[in-house]
């Protein structure tokens, strides 16, 4: 099965359980981490979706649905034009914002020595309650910070801005404000280049 067809099958399999932005995020997660893996890697995919609280349905049921979709004939998959339309709609959407935000914070942290990077992650985990967000969202952010799992829940842009700021405050605490400014600035430039054409300007998170 071709990559695009496989993706459409995953989408079809997830549709009974997810819609809108969570579905788009889940597809992005599959694309980033599981699209090149064997079919049995889908259990990990479903497990990660469950950790992010995106899925309320029993994992076995979701897995069954995904297998069925992957085994269906290509003709039964959603039309390409529908898919293209949904992709266009997602440009500049919260999904892109989340992706940009996590990329920015990861880039900031990656620019530090590993021990400092870990300190910043720990600092962010310890101070996550500063973000006035529902528990599932905070859990999803914890999973991203602690286990590098992709966030698949929608998060408002203002909260993402606060998340970037939390990383900045952590940088100030552990490496000082002068270096924090420089690291943030350099990370913004890197993400701007890497994210060009994503439809979501990274500066909106500052």
């Amino acid at each position: 099965m071709e990559f695009e067809q496989k993706k459409l099958a995953i989408e079809q399999g997830l549709t009974p359980f997810l819609g809108g932005e969570p579905l788009a995020n889940a597809l992005r997660l599959w694309e980033a981490k599981y699209s090149r893996g064997h079919t049995f890697a889908l259990t990990g995919f479903i497990s990660e979706l469950g950790d992010g609280a995106a899925l309320a349905a029993p994992p076995a049921k979701v897995l069954q649905s995904l297998f069925r979709a992957l085994n269906n004939p290509p003709a039964s998959l959603p039309a390409h034009r529908d898919r293209a339309a949904s992709t266009t709609e997602a440009q500049g959407s919260p999904g892109h914002a989340i992706h940009t935000c996590t990329l920015l914070v990861d880039t900031m942290i990656d620019r530090l020595p590993p021990d400092k990077g870990e300190e910043i992650r720990r600092y962010m985990l310890d101070h996550l309650e500063r973000l006035p967000q529902p528990t599932p969202v905070l859990n999803a952010i914890r999973a991203w910070l602690g286990q590098r799992r992709t966030i698949v829940l929608p998060i408002p842009e203002t909260a993402l801005t606060r998340l970037v700021n939390l990383a900045y405050v952590g940088l100030c605490e552990y490496v000082g404000p002068i270096k924090a400014d420089r690291v943030l600035h350099e990370a913004v430039l890197i993400v701007e280049t890497a994210n060009a054409g994503s439809g979501f300007p990274v500066r909106r998170l500052l």
Binding site: Y168, E173, G176, P177, D181, L184, H185, R203, L206
Partner: protein, 437 residues
């Protein structure tokens, strides 16, 4: 023959000068000269605001430069109005109790001299108010700062001023009656400003990352040392009016006051440099500028009543104070952006003691020293106490501390939507689209 004729002319001139008409004319011209001198000095003291703005602006990061300038600019405006409205009356109104002035509020009429005096004192109030600005830079809400400035210029400064200098409208302040010597305000203006700053930084807390997780001090350098140096020079220049004008008259003794003032500043800077050399530390520009201002602050109390050699000694010790106190402040995790507390608060204390110690013709008089100590203590208790309560109240009501996002973006962006250097500010710590109004 020629010398005889000259003597005759001199005699005739002397006769003319002592005649009633000539005397009256002399009084008028005397008042006019005094007015010109005091108005000029008031202008020089006003120029000190520019000095403060440059010094503090240069010591702040570029993303907070506009905020610092705006605080300096507007505290003069707000403070000027408040001082005219209530401050002048509290400080110089009829002071029969010795504790507070009770007349001359929002003055609209009065003798000519009162306007000159009010104008000069208004500039002093602005100086006391603006001292706190630099210490609290880079993390205080603009509105909260302005409310604090109103409290300083409308209550804290004038009430203490009425104790030490009160009596223009009648009566006498209790400290003044005890013989407290503070010629131009080492304590009245500078220490009071310094103690208000101390209260402010305690309530505010340090800037993000100023101290590491283990308490280590992390210096946050200012963005423009040229501005710092220029600000230092302008302040020094303005001090000519600050101390020279405190005679409140065009007197022949002004020369010595100005020499002492200048020597105090020179000795402060040299004292600090020597201190650094002795400790094998680099002689920093910011420390040197601050030390010269510390020298000026310390000589302010006794510049009219001490000999130049003592002025030098006073300045040298002030230089050492400006080198030592910031280290102690950092150990306490108190973040004073411009070291205003050591320069104004502590050098003010030393200068007031020095004015008692080195009082010309009455050196080291323990009684005088005790009075000076009482004045210093009273200034701390009143200035720090009321400022602490005020800032705590401000924090509880309108909020005083900018949050982390504001510190990331810089207060220029979050408080003023304006950048100090729009064409050169390269750091991407905020979304520039937010500036489009």
């Amino acid at each position: 023959m020629q010398s005889q004729s000259l003597r005759r002319w001199q005699f005739a001139l002397a006769l003319a000068l002592v005649s009633p008409a000539a005397l009256a004319a002399s009084d008028v011209s005397r008042a006019a000269v005094d007015t010109i001198w005091l108005a000029t000095c008031a202008g020089l003291v006003f120029l000190m605001q520019a000095g403060f703005a440059l010094l503090e602006g240069g010591m702040a990061r570029s993303k907070n430069a506009v905020n610092v300038l705006m605080k300096n600019y507007l505290d003069v405006c707000v403070g000027g109005l408040i001082f005219w409205l209530v401050g002048f009356g509290l400080m110089f109104g009829v002071n029969s109790s010795g504790w507070i002035g009770t007349s001359h509020f929002a003055p609209n009429s009065g003798p000519d001299w009162d306007w000159t005096f009010l104008f000069f004192q208004m500039m002093f109030a602005a100086t006391a108010t603006t001292i706190a600005s630099g210490a609290m830079a880079e993390r205080i809400h603009f509105n909260a700062y302005l409310v604090g400035a109103c409290v300083i210029s409308g209550l804290i400064y004038p009430v203490f001023g009425s104790w030490a200098w009160g009596g223009h409208g009648g009566g006498e302040g209790w400290l003044k009656a005890m013989g407290f010597v503070d010629f131009a305000g080492s304590t009245v203006v500078h220490s009071i400003g310094g103690w208000c700053a101390l209260a402010g930084i305690i309530v505010l807390g340090p800037r993000l990352g100023r101290f590491g997780p283990n308490g280590e001090s992390r210096p946050i350098p200012g963005h423009n040392l040229s501005l710092v140096a220029l600000g230092g020079f302008i302040l020094w220049f303005g001090w000519v009016g600050f101390n020279g004008g405190s005679t409140l008259a065009a007197e022949v003794g002004i020369g010595k006051i100005l020499v002492n003032t200048h020597l105090g500043a020179c000795a402060g800077a040299v004292g600090s440099a020597l201190f650094s050399v002795m400790l094998s530390r680099p002689v920093l520009l910011t420390a040197t500028v601050n030390a010269s201002i510390g020298g000026l602050v310390s000589i302010t109390a006794g510049c009219a009543t001490m000999e130049p050699s003592h002025a030098v000694l006073t300045g040298i010790i002030a230089g050492a104070i400006t080198s030592v106190i910031p280290i102690l402040m950092a150990k306490m995790r108190w973040d004073d952006v411009v070291d205003a507390i050591s320069v104004h608060g502590f050098c003010g204390v030393w200068g007031t003691l020095a004015a008692g110690l080195f009082y010309s013709g009455d050196l080291f008089n323990p009684r005088r020293l005790a009075v000076q100590a009482i004045g210093i203590l009273a200034a701390f208790v009143w200035g720090f106490g009321v400022a602490l309560l005020s800032y705590l109240l401000i924090a509880r009501t309108i909020g005083i501390r900018s949050d982390g996002l504001h510190e990331q973006r810089g207060l220029d962006f979050t408080e003023h939507a304006e950048l100090g250097y729009p064409e050169f500010q390269q750091m991407q710590t905020f979304n520039p689209d937010g500036l489009h109004r």
